[in-house]
């Protein structure tokens, strides 16, 4: 045995390698993974982390075209960052190179024709980029997810994921803070979550995300024991379990938690936080308002339906009969299959009806909700077997995930009530189901005040008179696709103040006012009759612009009758009057709202796109929450829960930071902070500080990672100061400064971790040596053969 007693303060002898500590320790190298393997594992986990973080983007786009450019962008960004790090590039250089590469990549993917050699962006490319960005801004406002992966949106997706990938790489490879990398990737993961409704596949992605994070942390060799507080000599730590084992435990726990708890995370299985409105495909949803809202302000005038009928009809998709949280909603639609011959039991048996048959051909429309004239009594067509009818609100839907789409056709027979106006007018009202007149307490009193004022002025006493009075009053208000005022809970107040809005607000408000008078009312959504394109055959073209909301009021013996409070600027509405309770024409002329002069024009009765409202303005009309989705009810809580959690975490982080940040006057704390910084560096480099390590042992191992002797000196200086701060109650500010400088030197001296380049070189050397050896062997054999032969 050789007695060993090194000078504790002597710098480490050259040639000492990790795993063999100076005291001759032969304890197994708990984290003895060679630097290269750690590197590759880190790279792989970063790649997995980022790719998994892309999964939620699938909710934003309605097909998978986005996958290749976005994933390729991420891989290029990671590869670039990692490759540059191999050559020792710092953060700034990497960032600059990343920006250049991003320019090249997006040029090559989105506008190769304008780029020189397909990659180098030219002035034209930049112009294309500018246009795309402008488009993207509009599309994001106008479209609801999932959307088609249009180039403008792809540009946003590629750029966003590229930025996140670069930031993750910066954290993982350069700053060597695995935790930060995981955090950034999580941000990337969660950004698309609130945007859309589809949740499939996400729960599956979460365990992978957590596993990748675990691997990243494990190879960063986070030592949980250090997290749990300063080790005390009494705590008999299992010394052989180093960072790797701890990392493995962490990973296992994380995967377990991910599998078990993924669905408990906020945002999973929940409706979207907000809907970006507009056209862009119909989300598969049972919520009729989502369907409506995507159409009320359409982004183009494309044909939705072609209707052949001998009289213009509103085509209704759904009725909203519940008012909650400042919005009209419908409960989920539960259909029952229609009869064998397509017969539908009407919602309310009316005394007198007129049968109208409507042939509908579906154009640019997808969805489960079938636009039909109300009340439909029979529906036929190739899709007959899928038709279902919800008796509670007279809605026709398709069963089993089927959707109507381009080219579908069906024939609907509606039994349009033909009530006797005088008789209805005389009726004093009746006691309907309470839920048809119920309102929450949150409805402002001014709604009822206004209603009572209107009926008082009109001297309306019967429900019919009152409904007509309110309808007529609202018809005198102003129509605008860009109503003034804000959104959300104030939208109703804003509308009542400004008396300006569009069908959503008009219908919602009229239904509210009626209910305050105990008149059963609900909001219907669907389409106005549209444009008469072939008067001979009675063919009407319904476009997205014809999306509409109106009011239905229940009368005994007659059923639900439509009322039209909206003074639509295109006049494409059917307004009942006391004399004409069954509106059979687009009857804007009946009321002649003074604010809409062009309605006096006869042509306005069968209008197309309104010329007065610019196309873009129509499509990008301001959203209002007067009518909102049923999802809104559910989504009220979890943003608050999430925000609360964030607050708690943030407060915790601030407190921890405050506790751990050294007081400048406390030299001991400063030295300790310097040492902790070195420990973090060690963790990132795969050289964790073990509980049984002295300062010198750990720092010597750490310094061996650096090529220059400066690291050894710095490690030595830091070890001296750190040990002194631990064991000797006299530390000067100078000593603290020395420790901090030493740590800074250490951090700077650390090399880009040895990786693939070095390994490739070594492999090449080995291969050459083997070849030479085998050549020698062959020569020897042949020589031997000649000799013996």
């Amino acid at each position: 045995m050789t007695a060993v007693a090194e000078r504790p303060t002597a710098p480490p002898p050259p040639g000492h390698r990790r795993g063999a500590t100076a005291d001759g320790s032969s304890s197994p190298p708990a984290t003895g993974t060679p630097g290269g393997n750690t590197d590759v594992a880190q790279l792989l986990s970063v790649v997995v982390l980022l790719l998994v973080a892309l999964v939620p983007i699938g909710r934003v786009f309605d097909d998978t075209l986005w996958v290749r450019p976005v994933a390729a962008g991420v891989l290029v960004a990671v590869g670039l960052c990692w490759g540059l790090r191999q050559f020792g590039a710092g953060g700034l250089v990497t960032m600059a190179a990343s920006v250049l590469a991003w320019l090249g990549f997006t040029s090559a993917v989105l506008a190769p024709a304008t780029a020189r050699f397909g990659v180098v962006p030219t002035r034209d490319t930049l112009e294309v980029g500018r246009v795309l960005l402008t488009d993207a801004a509009e599309l994001i406002r106008a479209q609801s997810s999932p959307v088609e992966p249009e180039p403008a949106l792809l540009l946003v997706a590629i750029s966003g994921t590229w930025a996140i990938a670069t930031a993750v790489c910066d954290a993982a490879f350069i700053r060597r803070v695995p935790l930060a990398a995981v955090g950034i990737a999580l941000v990337g993961f969660s950004v698309p979550l609130p945007l859309a409704t589809r949740t499939s596949g996400l729960a599956l992605a979460v365990p992978f995300l957590i596993a990748a994070a675990g691997v990243l942390l494990a190879f960063g060799s986070v030592d949980l024991r250090r997290w749990l507080g300063p080790s005390s000599p009494r705590a008999r730590a299992p010394g052989r379990r180093g960072g790797l084992a701890t990392g493995a435990v962490l990973t296992t726990l994380a995967v377990g938690a991910g599998v078990l708890l993924a669905d408990a995370l906020p945002g999973f299985g929940e409706p979207p936080l907000y809907e970006i409105r507009g056209r862009g495909g119909t989300p598969s949803t049972n919520n009729p308002m989502v369907d409506l809202r995507t159409r009320l302000t359409a982004s183009d005038g494309g044909t939705v339906l072609e209707v052949t009928t001998d009289r213009p009809m509103y085509l209704r998709t759904a009725a909203l009969d519940t008012y909650e949280d400042q919005s009209w909603t419908a409960e989920s639609i539960r259909g029952t299959p229609v009869g064998a011959d397509g017969a539908i039991a009407p919602e309310v048996e009316a005394n007198s009806t007129e049968e109208v048959t409507v042939d509908v051909e579906v154009g640019d429309l997808r969805g489960e909700l079938v636009p039909v004239p109300y009340p439909a009594v029979a529906v036929e067509g190739p899709l007959a077997e899928y038709f279902q009818h919800d008796d509670r609100n007279g809605t026709v839907i398709l069963d089993g995930g089927e959707q109507i789409g381009q080219g579908d056709a069906y024939t609907v027979t509606a039994a349009v009530p033909d009530p006797d106006a005088a008789r209805i007018g005389a009726s004093e009202g009746f006691a309907p189901d309470s839920h048809l007149t119920s309102l929450p307490d949150t409805v402002p009193a001014r709604v009822e005040d206004l209603a009572r004022q209107v009926i008082a002025e009109a001297e309306a006493t019967t429900p019919l008179q009152q409904a007509l009075a309110i309808q007529d009053e609202l018809q005198t208000w102003n129509y605008s696709l860009e109503p003034p005022g804000g959104h959300g809970s104030d939208a109703l107040d804003d509308f009542l103040d400004s008396r300006t809005g569009y069908c959503e607000q008009f219908a919602a408000t009229m239904a509210l006012m009626l209910r305050t008078l105990d008149i059963p009312a609900r909001v219907a959504v669907g389409y106005t009759p549209g444009t008469l394109v072939d008067p001979d055959e009675g063919r009407w073209q319904v476009s997205h612009d014809n999306a509409h909301a109106w009011v239905e009021v229940l009368f005994p013996e007659s059923g639900w009758l439509a009322f039209e409070p909206t003074p639509r600027s295109d006049g494409n509405v059917l307004v009942p009057s006391a004399a004409n309770l069954t509106p059979s024409d687009t009857a804007a002329g009946d009321t002649d709202p003074p604010d809409i002069p062009d309605l006096a024009d006869e042509e306005a009765l069968v209008p197309g796109i309104d010329e007065d409202v610019p196309f873009d303005d129509q499509s990008l009309g301001e959203e209002t929450d007067v009518t909102a989705t049923a999802a809104e009810d559910d989504r009220r809580t979890w943003p608050w829960v999430t925000a609360g959690l964030f607050l708690v975490v943030a407060a915790g982080a601030v407190l921890t930071a405050r506790r751990t940040a050294p007081d400048p006057a406390d030299a001991v704390a400063r030295v300790r902070a310097a040492r902790v910084r070195a420990e973090r560096l060690g963790q990132a480099l795969g050289v964790p500080s073990r509980a049984s390590d002295t300062d010198r042992e750990f720092l010597t191992r750490l310094a061996q990672q650096a090529p220059s002797g400066a690291a050894g000196d710095a490690a030595h200086r830091l070890a001296v100061e750190s040990a002194r701060a631990r064991y000797f109650p006299d530390v000067s500010a100078d000593a603290a400064a020395r420790a901090e400088t030493a740590t800074a030197t250490l951090v700077e001296a650390m090399p880009p971790s040895e990786g693939i380049v070095d390994r490739a070189r070594r492999a090449a050397r080995v291969a050459r040596a083997r070849t030479a050896q085998s050549a020698r062997y062959t020569r020897m054999r042949s020589w031997w053969g000649r000799r013996s032969g």
Binding site: M1, T2, A3, V4, A5, E6, R7, P8, T9, A10, D23, G24, S25, S26, S27, P230, S231, S232, P233, R234, A235, R236, A237, P238, G239, R240, V668, A669, R672, R690, A691, S692, D693, T694, D695, R696, E697, H716, V720, A723, R724, A725, R726, Y727, F728, P729, D730, S732, D734, A735
Partner: protein, 324 residues
């Protein structure tokens, strides 16, 4: 070697003298600086050293060089089977001139006692050293005689040649602060030995660089070196861990804790540090603890050594984080 900015004068003087002696010994005993340092640490922490190695590597040379560097009394005892305990302790004889009994001090009455091949003497003789080593006194015929300061026993034994030897009893082994092995010199050092020794023995020319009084002062300075309470606990944990280790039948004694702490103080002082750090303790754990452990027969059969156990213990017991 770093100069601690706050090292006080005593520690500075301690380190300077330490370096001087070390350098002095190094002129004749080359290439084994760490062994020299450990021996000096034992001297300054009032411990005794058991040099265990094969013949011819310089055990006696080291002991002699150490003794010569310090101007103090040195006695050499060649342990043989017929050596009597009284040869070591001394004997009371009747002085006819004075008509009274007179104490004739034995070989142990010196500042540095070199016991060569200690395992060649019988247990009785070996145990004659016991009291002297621990108590620094010798009792003969009911009268205690104090020993001077410093007092250090440097015993040597050959672990290979076991015929006709009496292995040291546990109690005696425990009284040695350290067991050191010198080991064969490196080829360069061996060449140097040839050159030096070929040109004549330089040992007689070795001059003392200090004296017994100064060493006594240094011993006092060592006692003043600060040890954080957490490190004292660390020492206790280490020693306790050797007792609880599965491969150990007999662990280290509390005397071992004491020796470890004292040695750490001396090592810290020698590095101009007025305080002990965990590295000091770790560096001394092997030489201070290894000879005190008795392994289980299974562990011995499995080829384990007490060095293995101590290394494992060092890797297991967490280093204290000190005051913060």
């Amino acid at each position: 070697m770093t100069t601690e900015p706050h090292a006080d004068a005593a520690v500075t003087q301690l380190a300077e003298r330490f370096d001087a002696i070390e350098h002095n010994i190094g002129t004749v005993f080359e290439g084994k600086q760490d062994v020299v340092r450990l021996a000096l640490i034992a001297l300054l922490s009032e411990g005794h050293v058991l040099l265990e190695d094969v013949p011819g590597v310089g055990k006696t040379l080291l002991a002699k060089a150490l003794a010569r560097s310090i101007s103090c009394s040195v006695r050499r005892i060649q342990f043989t089977p017929d050596l009597l305990p009284s040869d070591i302790t001394g004997i009371t004889v009747y002085n006819q001139e004075r008509g009274d009994f007179e104490f004739k001090p034995g070989a142990v009455f010196a500042n540095i006692v070199l016991g060569d091949e200690i395992n060649r003497a019988g247990p009785k003789t070996q145990s004659a050293l016991l009291e002297a080593m621990e108590e620094h006194t010798v009792t003969v015929d009911g009268t205690s005689h104090g020993l001077g300061t410093p007092f250090m026993v440097v015993a040597t034994q050959n672990p290979i040649e076991l015929d006709g030897t009496y292995p040291l009893p546990e109690a005696q082994r425990d009284r040695f602060m350290m067991r050191l092995s010198i080991g064969y010199p490196s080829p360069e050092a061996e060449l140097g030995v040839l050159g030096v020794h070929g040109g004549g023995d330089r040992l007689p020319a070795l001059e003392a660089v200090t004296d017994a009084r100064e060493i006594a002062e240094l011993i006092e300075a060592v006692k003043a070196v600060h040890v954080d309470e957490s490190l004292q606990r660390y020492v206790v944990e280490l020693v306790r861990a050797t007792r609880e280790h599965g491969e150990v039948e007999l662990g280290a004694s509390p005397r071992a804790s004491l020796a470890l702490l004292r040695g750490a103080r001396a090592l810290a002082g020698a590095t101009r540090r007025p305080y002990v750090i965990a590295d000091d303790i770790k560096a001394l754990a092997l030489p201070v603890l290894s000879h005190r452990l008795v392994l289980t027969p299974e562990a011995q059969l499995a080829g384990r050594s007490s060095e293995h156990v101590i290394t494992a213990v060092l890797g297991d017991v967490p280093v204290p984080s000190g005051r913060g």
